[in-house]
């Protein structure tokens, strides 16, 4: 019998603490059910989401090095539940590992608050922890309500799959042009994965304020693509993709001239449904497009 308890430092990201409380609830509920121990990094700051990086790259590196420090203190891998957090922490981690002079300059700053970045914690997304450490066979063994009646469209989100050179160390060498990890999870839960062209495309979130037309069209396109391929829902590991696709369906309908209605679920929400967790435990009331089938 395997007695090893999987234990990670959880970097929640800001969205799980703000506009997607359902992501926080469902992550905690699923981890508990699967016996995965997540220790929340309450000291962590925002990852900068690539926007602080546009303004002040050095500051973002110092802040993310600090974030990683707290996982190192626990001696655990740093696990994220947001693609953008994952990418920005990963970029910082790799830059600091590759450049000794930069590491020295960042550590000089961290020394002011009694911290030192060592580079001993891996940065990983919860999706890939489930795939690589927990395993899909084991996940299937926990399924109480197989999702066999559902066509589930996987939506990967850019920042878990691109650029492969940065991501490979963290995502089991998933190919950005033909990713398969979400399909593996969906199938492990007994669901049917929808094949559609937009699954590895951009949702437009990061230009939502700066280029709203582009952003809305990207969201709309992904949504209608999934609908046209008979999806009952979309599942995504990224709360930012989730926000754009869940909140902006009315705007997307208007932009593309078609009725759009498609529930968007976070990865742990879909897993939780199959594990028999309740709508309340999964925070389904927070989803704007009601997943009526689960309520």
């Amino acid at each position: 019998m395997d007695m090893t308890v999987l234990k990670y430092a959880l970097f929640t990201g800001c969205t799980a603490k703000n506009s997607t409380p359902e992501l926080m609830k469902s992550t905690e509920a699923v981890a508990k059910k699967l016996g995965i121990k997540l220790i929340e990094l309450k000291e962590a700051s925002c990852c900068g989401a690539s926007h602080l990086q546009d303004f002040d790259e050095f500051l973002s590196l110092v802040l993310n090095a600090r974030n990683i420090c707290y996982a190192e203190k626990l001696g655990l891998d740093l696990v994220t539940i947001c693609n953008t957090c994952n990418l920005n922490l990963l970029i910082a981690d790799q830059k600091l590992k590759a450049d000794a002079d930069l590491r020295r300059r960042v550590n000089e700053k961290l020394a002011e608050v009694g911290l030192e970045y060592k580079g001993t914690s891996r940065v990983r997304h919860f999706l890939y922890v489930l795939i690589e450490d927990f395993g899909m066979e084991k996940l299937t063994s926990y399924v109480e309500k197989p999702l066999e009646e559902f066509n589930i469209a996987p939506f990967y989100g850019c920042h878990n799959i691109r650029p492969a050179g940065t991501q490979n160390a963290a995502n089991g060498k998933e190919d950005p042009y033909n990713p398969s990890s979400l399909e593996r999870v969906i199938e492990a839960l007994g669901g049917k994965a929808v094949e559609y062209a937009s699954k590895n495309k951009c949702c437009g979130f990061h230009a939502d304020l700066q280029a709203p037309k582009t952003s809305t069209m990207l969201t709309a396109n992904a949504l209608v693509d999934a609908m046209d391929n008979n999806a009952d829902m979309i599942v995504t590991p990224c709360p930012l993709c989730h926000l754009n696709m869940d909140i902006k369906q009315k705007a997307s309908s208007k932009a593309i001239g078609r009725d759009i209605h498609l529930p968007i679920l976070h990865l742990p929400q879909v897993i939780g449904l199959a594990l028999g967790l309740s709508a309340d435990e999964l925070g389904l009331k927070h989803n704007i497009v009601e997943p009526a089938f689960a309520l």
Partner: protein
């Protein structure tokens, strides 16, 4: 057992003649592929042995002229560089070869790249400097200085990034990754004297750096390792460093992260949108904000969570900031 050195593959090739055809067709070719063969080998064999009318661009055959870029199963590749066994491993034994942008097809895999070249021209892709026509000695650029532009200088104008960019697909004014990477190549060249004009050009909303959706398609597809989005990020920071950022929704959005981190450690999403859009601009988000509010997705200001050890974060923001924005 030795691995089989050849594989049977079904190629579906986009065929279209803009002068005579109303719609394109995908012609199927069953071919046996050898392990050393690249996409261009197959196109050549189709043209030379099966159908001489197949049209595609090719020239150097060494991954440096940039003319043979196509898409295979939506992955942008240089036909002369992309090994077929790698594609078969990735996509299986049915491969669809298409032009970079089917809407711009002239004949089969040949597209009209006028849009790409137009954007390229618009960033003045050449050194702007007072040049002494008869210099007495060489103009030496330090190794360190040359290193800054090396990567961006590898661009071969194949258009793979441009025709993979979703922002280009929905905004015909967006300069796109290649032209922006080229801009960086000159804004970071110590000999160039047009840095301010170049940064002003790409700082323009609707066409410049702020319209990048940060999808990393360009960095992924580039066959030469230019990393266009990395250069776009550099352009953003140069715009701030040169004090050229105007106070608009894009610049305030970037700076707003710092304000929020300083105050809460975490991001105050509502305040970020208000600060970015301004008190009037934020009104257009009210319908969505209302939906969010009734679904418990908005944290009210007095409930905004704060990171533990916030004093550390404040100390670091104070000591490690390298940019200013008023």
């Amino acid at each position: 057992m030795f691995e089989s050195k050849s594989k049977k593959v079904t190629f579906k090739v986009f065929r279209f003649n803009s002068e005579t055809d109303y719609l394109p067709v995908y012609k199927t070719y069953e071919m046996v592929v050898e392990s050393h063969e690249v996409v261009l080998d197959i196109l050549n064999r189709i043209k030379w042995e099966i159908d001489g009318s197949l049209s595609y661009r090719r020239s150097c055959r060494h991954g440096i002229c940039g003319s043979c870029a196509v898409k295979v199963n939506q992955k942008g590749v240089l036909a002369c560089k992309q090994n077929l066994f790698e594609l078969i491993e990735l996509f299986g034994e049915e491969l669809t070869i298409e032009p970079q942008n089917i809407k711009r097809a002239i004949k089969d895999l040949i597209i009209d790249k006028a849009d790409f070249w137009g954007k390229y021209d618009a960033v003045e892709p050449y050194l702007v400097a007072e040049i002494d026509e008869h210099p007495a000695c060489e103009n030496i650029v330090s190794h360190h200085s040359a290193e800054k532009i090396d990567e961006a200088d590898y661009c071969i104008q194949c258009g793979s990034c441009y025709y993979s960019c979703p922002s280009v697909a929905y905004n015909e004014n967006f300069l796109g990754p290649a032209a922006l990477a080229k801009t960086y190549r000159f804004t970071s060249d110590e000999r160039d004297s047009a840095k301010t004009e170049r940064l002003t050009n790409v700082n323009e909303m609707g066409k410049g750096v702020w319209d990048c959706v940060k999808c990393f398609e360009c960095a992924q597809v580039c066959p030469k390792g230019v990393d266009p989005i990395g250069k776009i990020t550099r352009l953003h920071t140069q715009i701030f460093a040169e004090n050229l950022a105007e106070s608009n929704v894009a610049s305030r959005h970037a700076v707003g992260f710092k304000h929020s981190i300083e105050k809460h450690g975490l991001l105050d999403e509502g305040e970020l949108v208000r600060y970015s859009e301004g008190n009037i601009g934020v009104m257009k988000h009210l319908p969505e904000a209302f939906d969010m509010l009734i679904h418990g997705k908005i944290v009210l200001p007095w409930d905004m969570p704060k990171s533990e050890n916030l004093d550390e974060i404040k100390t670091l923001v104070d000591s490690s900031s390298t940019q200013k924005f008023d």
